[in-house]
């Protein structure tokens, strides 16, 4: 490693063309090399890129995987998602702390190992899980945690922690991960054999307008959560003015409990890239970006190789498959630990080398997106569907599912059930049937749609998975009879407090207030008026927030207030003494008691 900071900064900036919009890649490279982006480094970077130091600090301080202060050569990031905690992540955490002799948020005195918590890393079907630098370790036990630390002390090489490989392409020489795919049910659309190149060939044989018409005829809607009709989105983007357009594939997959995009990228990346290429042809774009969350960095080299092969085979690049004047290529943009970057305009900001702040709308990405160009943002699964639609025709696709929700949906199922993993189901399936498939019949509650979704109670298990009823990006977290739904809601609120970008008042402040009051209730110190308070505050955050994060972050509270009212009612009580339930007289006078050196008879009466 070179200690010559100015030379390294120069080299890294040059490798990215001295381009300010590539700042994410540049600071990621710095972080990797030096364990931080220090003050002197920021000064040098600013000069090299002709920007201001504070712009770099602004970006670095935004992402969890970047830092201005040095971290250990190895960073252990334990996932503290609610599903991991249910599987014993807290005990694993203690084991890490004991073996390392440090607390979370600290680095060993020799500067070798840092210990941190991180939000859902997309491994809820193999919990507890952690990242050790880019290496994923799954199904951790306290013993495994201790062994990991001992080994790292010995050789300091996270890749050597992987002693067995997962199924399918997880064993590929460029992946070498212990991650499992856990594909539990294959349906008729996604998990089907594919003929590489066929979809693109068929697309290029018709006009872009006809491709869009095919996607519309299939009535494909987005699989990323919002469910916007894909064909319509493409049409708007194509119609927008300007020379250059862009296709973004959203592989940020940050919603707690989802992991199906990870499996798609592992097992059928060609289908994802084909979908992007077809989108490019349809909207008239010649560039694309796959935004890959930092947590999935272990897939990067593998995906780069697939891209290289596609270039060789003329599936990317100029005159694709001999089609004159159609060129399209794409790059991978790595994220760096920020859930908000899954929101499409924040994702665009991040690709542009900025903080992951969402942008103001209007204008919408279809009008003005990446670098001001009309841009389509689509989820990984959506693009796989596109490929299938072109392969087999829209009619075949629309045979599956229901009128408003055609095709199949991938569900990521985790929690208290016997069979965790990815299930491809037709739209319109009942939640109770899904639970039967996964062996989760005992559930008292299912969180549908991740933290931002809704907590559904037993009485409503006959509802159906589709855009008109239980719309979801595919995260299903199952909670058995021994779970406390309010504690689960509290964990979700902690997630939103951590992940709010902080741009707007209601989300930045309101979520903290919501969490505090919920905690008061779960601690048994709530009063009936607190429920009214939560409802009103939650509605304020939902109505007044600027983007989808804040517009859904109160859902854990608002949906449990609606569906689990009795649980709240059992916890809140009026006190007979006229004091607020949260007021603890003994604690309030404790300091005064130590000063005067005697106990208050009144407070301890």
């Amino acid at each position: 490693m070179s200690d010559n900071l100015p030379a390294v900064v120069h080299e890294i900036c040059q490798a990215h063309g001295g381009d300010r919009t590539r700042l994410m890649d540049i600071v990621r490279a710095m972080q990797q090399k030096f364990g931080c982006v220090s003050g002197p480094a920021m000064e040098l970077l600013a000069k090299e890129l002709s920007i201001h130091r504070v712009e770099i600090e602004s970006l670095v301080s935004f992402y969890s995987f970047l830092s201005t202060r040095p971290k250990g050569q190895v960073v252990i990031r334990l996932c503290n998602d609610v599903i991991d905690q249910m599987a014993g992540a807290d005990e694993v955490a203690r084991a890490f702390e004991e073996e390392l002799g440090i607390k979370f948020g600290q680095t060993t005195p020799d500067g070798k190992i840092s210990l941190e918590y991180t939000a859902c890393i997309g491994m809820c079907d193999q919990v507890p899980a952690a990242l050790v630098n880019d290496v994923v370790v799954t199904e951790l036990s306290t013993d495994a945690a201790r062994r990991i630390v001992r080994e790292l002390r010995k050789h300091g090489d996270p890749t050597r922690l992987v002693t067995r490989h997962g199924d399918g392409c997880n064993g590929h020489e460029l992946v070498r991960a212990m991650v499992m795919n856990n594909i539990r049910q294959r349906g008729s659309i996604i998990f089907t054999p594919t003929n590489r190149g066929e979809a693109i060939r068929k697309a290029l044989a018709i006009t872009p307008a006809e491709v869009i018409r095919a996607v519309k005829t299939a009535r494909l809607r987005g699989r990323g959560g919002a469910g916007f009709p894909t064909g319509m989105k493409w049409e708007f983007t194509r119609a927008a003015g300007g020379e250059q357009r862009c296709v973004l594939c959203n592989a940020d997959e940050g919603e707690p409990g989802t992991f199906k995009d990870r499996v798609l990228l592992t097992e059928m990346p060609d289908r994802v890239f084909a979908g992007m290429t077809i989108a490019g042809y349809a909207i008239g774009a010649d560039e694309g970006i796959l935004y890959l969350r930092g947590e999935y960095a272990y897939l990067r080299a593998y995906l780069e190789q697939i891209l290289a092969k596609r270039r060789q085979d003329n599936l990317l690049g100029n005159n694709i498959l001999g089609k004159r004047a159609f060129k399209f290529d794409l790059r991978i943009q790595m994220g760096a630990g920020a859930y908000i970057c899954g929101e499409e305009t924040a994702l665009i900001s991040s690709c542009e080398g900025l903080r992951g702040d969402p942008k103001n709308r209007p204008p919408f990405p279809a009008q003005k997106g990446y670098l001001g160009r009309p841009t389509v943002v689509n989820n990984v699964e959506t693009l796989c569907c596109v490929t299938k639609i072109l392969e087999e025709g829209p009619a075949t696709f629309a045979e599956f599912g229901s009128q408003g929700s055609t095709g199949t949906k991938l569900l990521s199922i985790s929690g208290d059930c016997r069979s965790r993993g990815v299930f491809e189901v037709p739209f319109g399936i009942k939640l109770s049937e899904v639970l039967k498939l996964a062996g989760g019949e005992d559930a008292i509650a299912v969180q549908v749609g991740g933290a931002s979704g809704q907590m559904v109670a037993r009485e409503e298990f006959n509802r159906t998975i589709c855009y008109d009823d239980l719309a979801t990006g595919g995260s299903l977290m199952v909670f058995g009879p021994e779970r406390n739904v309010l504690e689960v809601a509290d964990k979700f609120m902690a997630f939103f407090v951590e992940e709010s970008c902080g741009y707007c008042t209601p989300c930045r402040v309101g979520n903290v207030l919501l969490k505090d009051r919920l905690e008061r209730i779960t601690a048994g110190c709530g009063e009936p008026a607190d429920l009214e308070y939560l409802q009103e505050l939650g509605t304020t955050v939902k109505t007044m927030s600027r983007c989808g994060l804040g517009q859904t972050s109160a859902n854990p509270i608002l949906t449990t207030l609606k569906n689990f009212r009795a649980t709240y009612n059992a916890l809140v009580k009026k006190r007979g003494d006229g004091r607020q339930p949260a007021f603890d007289l003994a604690a309030a006078v404790a300091e005064a008691e130590t000063i005067i050196g005697r106990k208050s008879t009144h407070a301890h009466a």
């Binding site: 504070v54 602004s58 301080s61 935004f62 970008c501 902080g502 008042t505 402040v509 007044m544």
Partner: protein, 235 residues
């Protein structure tokens, strides 16, 4: 395209120009939409959310939403006013605001909004977060206890002064105003004559040696609530 756009706010007919925002079209017609992070002459920001209105039933920030023909806008309804009051409350408990000895008292937009909405004390518990004060600059100081993260200084310095003295660091509740230096405002190019030095709506970025110069009774909002200067121009 016609050069005027007709729409309504709370049933009142308003005429705007193409590309104009709801907030500015309303203002030109003498209708005040409460706001905090907005400042005429700076790019719209949409951060405080105080100007949120219902546009055809859907919440939108009036400072970023452009006008469209036939748009139905709801501004001062009971419901929207309650939401706005909650946002003002949130800003009060997030920071540490001691109006009685703040240099900006009487000229502060946050305080003035609280008065306009009839807020005597916030209903949410105070967070009492430790925030940094920076007195290093000869002519201007930063008191982050009072910062509402409106970004007016950021935009003014970047877009008007051409300096980029300020920007945001951190995310969520840890979001803060930072300066273009290792740590201190005194090490930046900020000049007291900069637009950024007078863009702050509250008492977070304050010019030195002019505090309390205006006697109580003659301050900006001592007699009329904030927004009345706009409402008095209504036809």
């Amino acid at each position: 395209m016609s050069s005027t756009i007709e729409f309504t706010i709370n049933g009142k007919d308003i005429t705007g120009r193409p590309g104009q925002t709801v907030l500015e079209a309303a203002q030109d017609a003498g209708v005040y939409i409460p706001r905090l992070c907005y400042m005429r002459g700076l790019a719209a920001f949409g951060a405080c959310r105080v100007c949120t209105v219902l546009v055809n039933g859907r919440p939108q920030a009036a400072c970023t939403q452009t006008v469209a023909p036939g748009m139905v806008v709801e501004n001062n309804t009971e419901k929207m006013t309650a939401f706005r009051r909650n946002l003002i409350d949130m800003l009060f408990v997030e920071g540490n605001h001691f109006c009685m000895f703040c240099e900006k008292s009487g000229n502060c937009e946050l305080q003035a909004l609280a008065y306009r909405f009839g807020i005597a004390a916030p209903k949410y518990p105070y967070m009492f977060q430790p925030r940094e004060v920076d007195m290093s600059h000869g002519d201007v100081f930063i008191d982050r206890n009072r910062c509402v993260l409106c970004g007016r200084c950021v935009r003014a310095s970047r877009d008007v002064d051409g300096k980029h003295v300020f920007d945001f660091v951190g995310r969520g509740l840890h979001k803060r105003i930072a300066v273009n230096a290792e740590a201190l405002l005194g090490d930046t190019e900020l000049a007291v004559t900069d637009k950024a030095a007078e863009a702050c709506p509250v008492g977070a970025i304050v010019k030195k040696r002019v505090g309390y110069a205006v006697p109580v009774g003659q301050r900006l909002y001592d007699h009329k609530p904030i927004g009345s200067e706009i409402e008095s121009t209504a036809l």
